[in-house]
């Protein structure tokens, strides 16, 4: 979860958003984090560099729980 949050922080920082936020399994990538498709593309590249898994390769990913499932994280 720490690593995922770090990646999200870096994506938000690149957009000029520096406020901290609480990350839970229910946090929605689009609605809560405000990610558009370009942010999601960057998110998947950075996760893949870290975990070797492309989370969007097999279907939709809505929230952090979906991300963790795709990455096989508990």
């Amino acid at each position: 979860m720490e690593k995922i949050k770090e990646i999200i922080l870096s994506i938000r920082a690149n957009k000029g958003i520096n406020e901290d936020f609480t990350l839970t399994e229910n946090t929605s990538l689009r609605d809560d984090l405000g990610f558009d498709s370009f942010d999601l593309a960057e998110f998947t590249v950075k996760l893949e560099a870290e975990y070797g898994i492309d989370i969007f390769e097999t279907g939709l990913v809505e929230n952090i729980k979906d991300v963790k499932d795709k990455l096989n994280l508990k």
Binding site: N14, F38, L40, E42, T44, F56
Partner: protein, 394 residues
């Protein structure tokens, strides 16, 4: 009189003549990095009407279709007279910056048609900044040789050596890609003996012309449009090319792509023609309402589809290269499950410059739309170039 100067190695016009007359051995296959050997094999083969095959990085010669010419040459003018009358077929391979390489057949006549000779050029000293196996390199070698000028090899040399060679060898003429000129930035010192600096091979920009003018304060800056298929075709003073009235019928733009009439191309070999025109693969936009001038915007097939938006990587590279602290940049697409392709950039910074990914993105977002901004940025030590010194995108 020296012809080729390459580090500590030289080839004089006298040595070239001796070699042609069989007094020293001439190779039949050379590595193009050895410019003196390359010049020997190229000019002696041409003078004897042998065919020449130019590959990436090497050259080979073999007997031509015409009967072998076994003669000696009285003097260097006699030798270059034979070069100009050569029946050699010269095969070039395109660099394939964005696509598949092609094999194109030229002759000395087609390669030398834009070479200017005469008293005016007799004291020129050339800086050689291209691979010799490519069109632009051959143009410079022919221009220098047919005027018996010295030609100093600068291709692939480090920045400091380039500065000192230009200064110490009194180089007056340079022809190079924008990528090569960018190696001379940031400004270190004036090089006032250079009177002509020609750009070619890639899209360039007014900001680079201005920076290069500062290094070469006495140089006339020109831009040349040439291709492996057609040779040198158009010249301009800046990034806008005017189509001369006499060429208007022979240059056409279709769907943004520049088309050249077959009459401007070499007669034989390897160039696909449709309805009398060759599609260059160069994308242009008109710079005036009458369609009498244009500027280059990129290469067909080099556009990257990012989430349904067509991104011109050369335009993005230009914007990155214009940022303070950037030496060079390469923009490319990578397959991505969300957008189809994600835009990536390799950026080489100038020494002592410090820029972060966020800095680059923030600066680009002032002038570019979101889809044009690379989402993966790597800071690298060097940018991969093609054999002709252009940024390699695939």
């Amino acid at each position: 009189m020296d012809f080729i100067i390459d580090d500590n190695r030289t080839l004089s016009y006298g040595e070239l003549l001796d070699c042609a007359n069989g007094e020293s051995e001439c190779p039949t296959q050379v590595c193009a990095a050895e410019l003196a050997d390359f010049a020997k094999i190229f000019f002696i083969s041409a003078a004897k009407s042998r065919d020449i095959e130019l590959y990436e990085g090497r050259a080979e010669t073999r007997p031509g279709e015409a009967p072998a010419i076994r003669r000696s040459f009285n003097c260097i003018d006699d030798f270059f007279g034979a070069v100009k009358a050569s029946a050699s077929k010269i095969y070039l391979h395109t660099s394939g910056t964005t696509g598949r390489a092609k094999r194109i057949c030229h002759t000395i006549e087609t390669l030398a048609r834009n070479i200017r000779t005469g008293e005016k050029h007799s004291r020129d000293v050339w800086g050689f900044c291209y691979a010799p196996t490519h069109m632009a390199g051959l143009q410079v070698l022919l221009q220098a040789a047919l005027n018996k000028n010295a030609c100093v090899n600068l291709f692939g040399k480090p920045r400091q050596q380039t500065y000192s060679e230009i200064s110490e060898r009194s180089i007056t003429h340079m022809s190079a890609t924008p990528t090569f000129y960018r190696l001379l930035l940031p400004f270190e010192r004036e090089l006032p003996k250079v009177v002509r600096a020609t750009f070619g091979g890639e899209k360039s920009s007014p900001s680079l012309y201005a920076a290069v003018s500062k290094i070469f304060p006495n140089a006339k800056i020109t831009n040349i449009y040439a291709s492996t298929e057609a040779g040198a075709l158009l010249a301009s003073d800046a990034d806008i090319f005017k189509i001369p009235p006499e060429m208007k019928e022979f240059v056409r733009v279709d769907n943004g792509e520049l088309l050249i009439h077959e009459s401007l191309l070499p007669h034989s070999g390897g160039i696909p023609i449709s309805d009398g025109f060759y599609r260059t693969g160069d994308m242009v936009e008109f710079a005036d309402a009458e369609g009498a001038s244009f500027r280059f915007v990129g290469r067909t097939g080099s556009f990257i589809n990012v989430g349904g938006y067509k991104v011109n990587p050369e335009e993005v590279e230009e914007a990155i290269k214009n940022l303070d602290g950037v030496s060079n940049a390469r923009v490319f697409g990578r397959k991505n499950s969300v957008l189809g392709n994600i835009l990536c950039a390799d950026i080489k910074l100038l020494q002592n410059a410090s820029l972060s990914e966020s800095d680059v993105r923030a600066a680009l977002s002032k002038t570019m739309r979101q889809f044009n901004i690379p989402r993966v940025i790597n800071f690298v030590d060097s940018i991969i170039l093609t054999g002709t010194g252009k940024v390699k995108r695939q």
